[in-house]
């Protein structure tokens, strides 16, 4: 059976309510992001044994590991490349990785930073200056993506 103006009630109701965006801050407060939202991984340094499992399973190749031997080494993450899948956490044999739940520190707000490298863990002789130097080198280079883009553009 065909009628017209079936949605009148709904439309009038919305008309009376006024714009939704007016109360957007209040609504955000009422509906916070879930506490187990997905964000970037963080490594607990005491537990990490630098086995390299997280580097091997990472689908986006955003983790890089450099190490001399069992005790000396570091894991770097190219943060914007991480897609928060949590594979590293699932497959870590020592439960050393936990997912950072604080949205303020997450990559959520740093998508535009292409050169965003961070140290996940640095152990033994890599701790301190050496790690900082490595990161600086990486940042100076401008990251993987930027490097390839530059190569493509200069070739033209």
């Amino acid at each position: 059976m065909k009628k017209i103006l079936v949605m009148t009630g709904e439309v009038l109701k919305n008309q009376a309510k006024g714009p939704v965006t007016k109360h957007v801050l209040k609504r955000l407060e009422e509906n916070p992001a879930p506490e187990d939202i997905r964000t970037i991984p963080i490594i607990i340094e005491d537990r990490c044994i630098l086995c390299g499992t997280c580097v091997a399973v990472c689908p986006t190749h955003c983790l890089e590991m450099e190490k001399d031997d069992k005790d000396n080494g570091m894991i770097i993450m190219h943060t914007p490349q991480c897609m928060w899948c949590g594979h590293c956490q699932t497959y870590c044999p020592k439960d050393a990785i936990h997912i950072d739940r604080n949205p303020a520190t997450s990559v959520l707000f740093s998508y535009n930073v292409r050169q965003d490298y961070s140290i996940l863990t640095a152990k033994g002789s890599f701790k301190g200056e050496k790690a900082d130097k490595k990161i600086e080198e990486k940042v100076a280079k401008g990251g993987k993506k930027l490097e390839e883009l530059e190569k493509f553009r200069s070739g033209k």
Binding site: I4, V57, M83, W84, G86, Y91, K145
Partner: protein
């Protein structure tokens, strides 16, 4: 033998020699067009206001997933495979993990609880995909009120998905061997009233589509695909079910625990756009009721969430199927004993539905074109998922479009046909 009228609509000659004899106007839509958010090139031959024949060209959005999968390990691919499609990511992952489990021979070790959570993820995805679709359909028909209402209510299910998985669109809950996250009791209790609320709202949406004259006149008896035509052009999913082909993989060959739930197969025989809409609306309601059943079952279901799967998958091959929101989704995986797949084939549902949809257009008014083309839920990341190329996809894509732009400009300049 297949008659000439049923030839595939994927055939387009570059020199334009394939235009049907009766046509006097040719309309080109895409690859970039405000109507169609996704890149496909439709070529519509018109006689006056009526469509004589509609053709399509694809290939503007390929990302090389099948080749990329051969270069990655089975474990890494678990997170690559949901990217095959933006909206139906869970069902792709679901089929993938079932293929891997079958190849690894650990099918029996998957607990009931893990299977229920997987099903919940798939059904939630079907709900939000269908709600999105009929919103856009109403928008294409010029009924924007429905778009806003349905998308507003869709936020409820999006919140549920975000609460349970941590992501809004791409839940990525599944792993070979089980699932990543549990649905604890508090979350289930929080979810149930939302689902009951949504059932009422979807029933209201259905009422609008059935009763409101301004939208119903636009959809009824438009783009009719008869059952015989449907059998020849092999549509799948809701497109087929609207034309009286009552096949749904969940019923046809039940996977996970779909045979233990109480649900009805929805199908209509009219074959017009209203029927495809009603199939999806009814399916949304069925899925919502299934979600409630799954939450009830989760209270008593027990078991380990994740069984161990070795990184090396023994040699073998398996053909997995699943029902995506758009239709039948097909994967074929071949393992060779290493930790990387030998070959992995994906056929997403949209590709199979295009022929049937373009068949619908024959003899219709050009004004009905947006509604008809929307009816199969176009998704070109599904359609072109195959090919090469990794990081440089962006560049390549742009160049393809450039070529098109050049051609279009030339065509306009010299006042000649596009090709």
């Amino acid at each position: 033998m297949v008659e000439e009228t049923f030839r595939s609509r994927f055939r387009t000659e570059v020199d334009g020699s394939d235009a049907p004899p009766g046509a006097d106007y040719h309309m080109f839509i895409g690859p970039q067009h405000p109507w169609c958010e996704e890149p496909a090139h439709f070529i519509i031959h018109l006689k006056g206001e009526r469509v004589v024949e509609a053709n399509i060209r694809i290939g503007f959005n390929f990302r090389g997933m099948e080749k990329a999968m051969e270069a990655r390990t089975w474990r890494q691919n678990t997170m690559l495979i949901p990217r095959a499609c933006g909206i139906c990511s869970a069902v792709h992952q679901n089929i993938y993990v079932r293929v891997v489990e079958r190849l690894a021979g650990i099918e029996d070790q998957i607990s009931e609880r893990a299977r229920l959570i997987r099903m919940f993820s798939c059904e939630a995805e079907r709900i939000h995909s269908h709600m999105l679709w009929y919103g856009i359909l109403a928008h294409d028909a010029g009924f924007d009120t429905m778009l806003h209402i349905s998308w507003r209510d869709r936020e409820i299910i999006m919140d549920i998905v975000e609460d349970l998985s941590g992501n809004r669109v791409n839940p990525a809950l599944m792993l070979p061997g089980g699932v990543k996250r549990d649905i604890p009791k508090e979350k289930a209790d929080r979810t149930r009233p939302k689902i009951n609320d949504l059932i009422k709202k979807v029933e209201y949406h259905k009422k609008v589509f059935v009763e409101e004259a301004s939208i119903r006149n636009r959809l009824e008896d438009v783009g009719v695909l008869t059952k015989d035509d449907a059998k020849k052009t092999t549509p799948n999913g809701p497109t087929g079910r609207a034309s009286g082909l009552p096949f749904d993989v969940r019923k046809a060959s039940p996977y996970e625990l779909y045979d233990q739930l109480d649900w009805n197969l929805v199908y209509y025989t009219e074959g017009d756009i209203l029927a495809t809409t009603l199939v999806r609306l009814d399916e949304t309601l069925e899925s919502l009721r299934m979600c409630n059943q799954i939450l009830d079952k989760l209270e008593t279901a027990e078991g380990e969430l994740l069984a161990r799967v070795r990184p090396r998958i023994p040699a073998g091959e398996y053909f997995g199927r699943g029902e995506a929101p758009r239709g039948e989704d097909v994967h074929y995986g071949i393992a060779n004993g290493t930790d990387k797949p030998e070959r992995y084939k994906i056929r997403a549902p949209s590709l199979g539905n295009i022929d049937a949809t373009l068949k619908r257009m024959d003899g219709e008014y050009i004004a009905d074109m947006p509604v008809v083309l929307r009816s199969y839920d176009p998704c070109f990341s599904c359609t072109n998922r195959v090919m090469i190329v990794n990081d440089t996809t962006g560049e390549k894509l742009i160049i393809g479009q450039d070529e098109f732009a050049h051609k279009a400009i030339k065509a306009k300049k010299y006042n000649r046909p596009f090709f």
